[in-house]
């Protein structure tokens, strides 16, 4: 492969030929063990992505032959799908919905998740109960939670009753957007909480002791000790959540519905084009989303130095 890892230095003193033969054996074994995974990934990810790219440049005029009933397709290649996608607000609106969902949800999730982690970290009794409770929103299928929140936000539902309002939440408009943000935050803030909690638990207690002895205030301890040390865990959690929200589909689809201007995401508009058999524009939307996600991921890793592989190869977690 094109990237080489530094050759491992064996601590055991083995004779030269034996060592190299063993390494050759190891490389062969590694190839054998990894090839099924790589093959599957090429088939279920590599091939579709290339096919989607090709499809997005494919311009076909399809018609049904009235005599045979078969699809008659005239195919050529060009950028028409992209020009139609980039024309007027057909891209901008879903792009902004996708982006604003990501910004709003992830911000709220980080605030709530970190607070949750701090609270859970202090829990001595009932840890198991808290942990199980925190996993419940994560375990509920997103489609089901969309349904649940649609019911909560029903015009006669419990949200309006508690708030004393008569808002038509899941119709359209800002309130529909807000309902999606609330539902998404509910479902995933605990997940961030769990990841941050894992980060909190490896901070040595002596640091807090020392800070206390030095008379640092609670806030100062949080900003100077807790937050910097929990940062690696938080950065990874935020990156995963960010990418997850950018591809969001099922929650707005079930909670509000398809073809709603205020909540339609890039995934949803691509899905909509696809179900209307406009595969070319669907692939163009999907490709735009894909590139957008890739740019955000790269920028995020550059800006915050998310150490993704480090966790995998992680000498210490």
């Amino acid at each position: 492969m094109s990237v080489t890892t530094p050759t491992p230095v064996r601590k055991t003193a083995a004779s030269r030929p034996a060592r190299s033969s063993r390494r050759a054996g190891t490389a062969g074994l590694a190839a054998a063990l990894l090839s099924p995974t790589l093959l599957v990934l090429v088939l279920v990810i590599g091939y579709p992505v290339v096919a989607a790219l090709r499809l997005s440049f494919q311009v076909s005029s399809e018609s049904i032959d009235p005599h045979t009933g078969f699809k008659v397709t005239a195919t050529s290649y060009g950028a028409e799908n992209y020009t139609s996608v980039f024309s007027d607000d057909r891209l901008l609106r879903p792009w902004w919905n996708t982006t604003s969902f990501a910004l709003a949800s992830v911000t709220l999730e980080v605030l709530i998740g970190v607070s949750m982690a701090l609270v859970m970290h202090r829990a001595f009794r009932g840890r198991a109960l808290v942990r199980a409770a925190v996993l419940v929103p994560w375990a509920i299928p997103t489609a089901i939670s969309g349904m649940l929140w649609k019911w909560i936000f029903n015009s006669q539902g419990v949200a309006n009753e508690i708030l004393g309002t008569q808002v038509l939440w899941s119709s359209d408009g800002f309130q529909a957007w807000l309902s999606v943000v609330i539902a998404d935050t509910w479902k995933t803030a605990p997940f961030i909480g769990l990841l941050v909690l894992a980060g909190l638990q490896i901070i040595p207690g002596e640091l807090y002791e020392a800070a206390r002895v030095d008379g640092a205030s609670v806030w100062r301890v949080f900003w100077r000790i807790t937050l910097p040390l929990v940062r690696p865990a938080l950065v990874v959690a935020v990156l995963f959540r960010l990418l997850d929200v950018l591809r969001m589909f099922d929650l707005p689809y079930v909670l509000v519905g398809p073809r709603k201007d205020s909540v339609e995401t890039l995934s949803m508009i691509a899905f909509d084009e696809m179900t209307n058999l406009r595969f070319g524009t669907a692939a163009a939307y999907a490709t735009v989303l894909f590139l957008y996600v890739a740019v955000v991921a790269l920028a995020f890793v550059k800006l915050f130095g998310a150490d993704l592989i480090g966790r995998g190869t992680g000498s210490e977690t």
């Binding site: 091939y47 579709p48 949750m116």
Partner: protein, 294 residues
Amino acid sequence: MSTTIFRLRRVAPVRRGTKRAGRGTAWARRLGIAAVVAYCLAPFYWMVVSSLRRPADQFSNAPLPAPVSFDNYSAAFDARNGFGRALVNSLVVAGVSTAVTLVVAIFAGYALARLQFRGKTLILTLIIAASMFPPIILVVPLLELFTDAGWINTYQAMIVPSMSFALPLAVWNLTAFFRQMPAELEKAAQVDGCTPAQAFRKVVLPLAAPGVFTTAILVFICAWNEFLIAVSVVNDRHMMTANVIVSLFTGQYKYDQPFGTQMAAGVVVTLPLVVAVLFFQRRIVDGLTAGGLK
């Protein structure tokens, strides 16, 4: 005996006392925990409560169902909805996806955790990048492909694309797990004359059972929750998964949307996962935090 227990009991508050936990902070702490639990469970509680109301009381917002009724559950399993069949479909799709994924991922996880070879960083990067793909870009061309191949309304049309998110998740978790296992085990096996392959088969695999199990739970939950692929490649009610079919319920009663029935079905779809979470919470949290993935 009793004195030691007594002493142990006394030690705890003293240790906590050093943390300056006054009565007020203890209460604040309890309040915080209660808030976290309420935040997480209140909507789920509402789903359960709503499902247990009589259909006539559907729009009641009382905190407890009175009287308790299982009418919504029998409505959910009404033959017209095909919900029972959908549960079986979900089970088949999620179960087969999990099994196939694990078999493939165990080997990759072991290789990435233990073997030193060129290109490892690249492969790890590829696998982590694979988990970040928006599924829609996979679904669009696959739908066209499956249409041509006659795979629409089949299990394999749902299982094969599910590997795209299940496999990176499984490989990542298993890699983290294998790394935590002491390397001395295989070293000892190899000293005793095992080849690396034999060491893997005879020593590592039996000991890796807990990690494999944890990964299986995570992958199963993710596969069970999948929606976009299932809603794209299936249009026959008999082949739909539970998640999809619940969103398509039409009312047996005359309301626009049969929320009570949907809540009952939602509880049925969610309950196995909630039970799994209660039993295996420790393992799941370990898996989630080790993998760092959803």
